[in-house]
């Protein structure tokens, strides 16, 4: 028997991890929330909005105020780039009012207003090396807020089309500040609504670990199991480490299974093996954050029933502001997404899986840093609170 004080014992940690994994696999509620529910969700979205559910196209009205300008060819390039990936069909309008009326009546899902001077602005990108000398212009996009999928899918397509229009297909990602808009991916793949939703489903599924962890800890406390474990040499550090490891395994299994299911139902992943591994790593780190939220929930909840309710304090904001669900919200409210960790997970998953962004991309590194710091801080807070007030 190991008697080294304050050292971590691998046998004890592995025994606790093994116990937690068996719980996930054998308890129907845990198995449903961890694996079956996310898979069902992915299958549903894939079949409804992916290739299997038919091609999704959006009608976008284009009001080209730069049509008679000296550099009007640029607006033509933009419209061409918008339609080339097949998801968007455009209708030209001569006035913004008419286009807005059709948008309000649901005839089209978006209106794109190309401003006067758009062509000159594009030209200035090439003629002036100093960004302060660029001619600024603003392309306006109006979306049908009643169409969740249009609001999710259209903005990134427009953004990518703008990137391609201004910088061209020949630019290498190394020379561009935004690698996310990989032109080759846009040129070769006809994306569906599901492709834009799928990265958010990965984060969505991991969020439910809050519910599983809080329920598990409160049930073990209610049934005297935490108290019983407290009579053995297993230390609180070993116990918490084991809970973290087992939930990271759950997140990994969940991520891999969801990834495979998403591919089966038509997700176009642009990530290579390294990019996919990075995506799974981010999900595993994110799982620690949800373990922390679960521990906080277990600390403040007197019973497992209460814990199930309290969990949603952490589940709902993450779900609405940080996953594909939030795309339907007004932009001002979407800004709250930056406060929840799932936002950065979804952003990283979208960049890695959908856009095939390289691991060294500043956006990916920023997302990884934010998720890591957030997760470690929340996990530490959860452990501290649970050790002080949550065990008995």
């Amino acid at each position: 028997m190991s008697g080294v004080k304050n050292s971590l014992n691998l046998t004890r940690i592995m025994a606790l991890v093994n116990k937690d994994i068996k719980k996930t696999v054998r308890e129907p509620a845990a198995l449903f929330l961890t694996l079956l529910f996310p898979v069902m969700l992915m299958l549903f979205f894939g079949l409804a909005f992916g290739r299997a559910g038919g091609e999704s196209t959006y009608q976008v009205g284009v009001v080209n105020l730069d049509a008679g300008g000296t550099q009007s060819r640029w607006s033509g390039y933009l419209v061409g780039n918008l339609t080339r990936i097949g998801v968007i069909k455009t209708t030209e309008y001569t006035s913004n009012e008419t286009a807005q009326a059709d948008l309000a009546q649901g005839k089209i899902q978006a209106v794109l207003v190309i401003p006067r001077g758009f062509g000159q602005s594009c030209s200035s990108f090439w003629t002036a090396a100093d960004p302060s000398l660029w001619i600024r212009a603003s392309v306006q996009l109006y979306l049908d807020s009643g169409s969740m999928f249009a609001t999710q899918a259209i903005p990134p397509i427009v953004q990518q089309a703008l990137e391609v229009t201004i910088r061209g297909l020949q630019q290498t990602t190394a020379q561009l500040p935004i690698e996310l808009s990989s032109p080759s991916m846009i040129a070769s793949v006809r994306l569906t609504t599901f492709d834009y939703m799928a990265p958010g489903v990965f984060a969505f599924a991991t969020i439910f670990l809050v519910l599983i962890v809080s329920s598990s800890f409160t049930v073990e406390r209610e049934e005297g199991l935490l108290r019983r474990i407290n009579t053995t040499p297993a230390t609180p550090s070993e116990f918490m480490l084991a809970a973290s490891i087992s939930n990271m395994f759950s997140a990994l299994a969940q991520g891999v299974l969801l990834f495979l299911v998403s591919l089966i139902v038509g997700f176009h992943s642009s990530a290579g093996p390294i990019g996919s591994l990075m995506a799974f790593l981010i999900l595993m780190i994110f799982s620690l954050c949800n373990v922390g939220f679960g521990l906080v929930t277990a600390t403040v909840s007197k019973s497992s029933g209460v814990a199930n309710g309290v969990s949603f304090i952490f589940v709902i904001p993450q779900m609405f502001f940080g996953t594909f669900v939030g795309a339907a919200l007004p932009p001002d409210i979407q800004a709250f997404g930056r406060l929840v960790p799932s936002y950065y997970v979804t952003d990283a998953m979208t960049s890695l899986l959908l856009r095939g962004a390289p691991l060294t991309s500043p956006a990916i590194l920023l997302d990884l840093a934010v998720v890591s710091v957030y997760s470690v801080a929340v996990l530490m807070l959860g452990i501290l609170l649970f050790r002080r007030c949550g065990r008995s």
């Binding site: 028997m1 190991s2 008697g3 004080k5 304050n6 014992n9 046998t11 004890r12 592995m14 025994a15 606790l16 093994n18 116990k19 068996k22 719980k23 054998r26 308890e27 049934e223 005297g224 199991l225 108290r227 019983r228 474990i229 407290n230 009579t231 053995t232 040499p233 297993a234 230390t235």
Partner: protein, 243 residues
Amino acid sequence: MVVQDLTEKYGDFVAVDRLNLDIGEGEIFGLLGPNGAGKTTTISVLCGILKPTSGCVSVGGHDVNRELQKVKESIGVCPQDTAVYPFLTIRENIELFGNLHAMPNDKLKENLGYVLEKMRLLEWADKRAGACSGGIKRRLNMAMGLIHDPEIVFLDEPTVGMDVQSRHAVWDFIKELKARNKTVVLTTHYIEEAEQLCDRVAIVDHGKLVALGTPAQLESKSKEKHLEDVFLKLTGSDVRGEE
């Protein structure tokens, strides 16, 4: 095991009041008392689950405040309420607690067969605990606390809810523990159980020690024929609330 002036308070409520005990190696020591007398609280302090409000407690020669890890390594606990993982099999539950004591694999395997046999659990070893009867869970509850062959065993009402056969199996096992020079601290509401098994008993009430000695000594001192009569004489016949 030495308990000196142990006091345990929950807010203003004094659960254990300046308790003094000295339990010898290889002794079966009974802790008797009505509901709410402070038996489980005392055991919780001895196991290190609760910190004493005041007083000194030494278990196996180790101070529970300063050497808690060493105390936990030397004890085995069978809690009053059944605490088993329902999704694990009987075997897995016992193995888990063996591993929590970091037992070597060969020793764990050897002890597992032994406790399964002694607790008459072999037949259900691969059945999920959640699907077993209350009696089997009670025996499992005890096996989980004994898998690592501890020197000191705390049994908090181990035979509650057991049928006669199971109870006798547990009694036989406790006697075997004594034969192997293990120290056993037993709380029970079955006075005949204490009479049969214990070398000495302590009767506590309202957190205080009211009598201490062998069953025969207590009967003689109280001029009663049975330990149960001694118990009623010392603690009264009022019905108490749960502890």
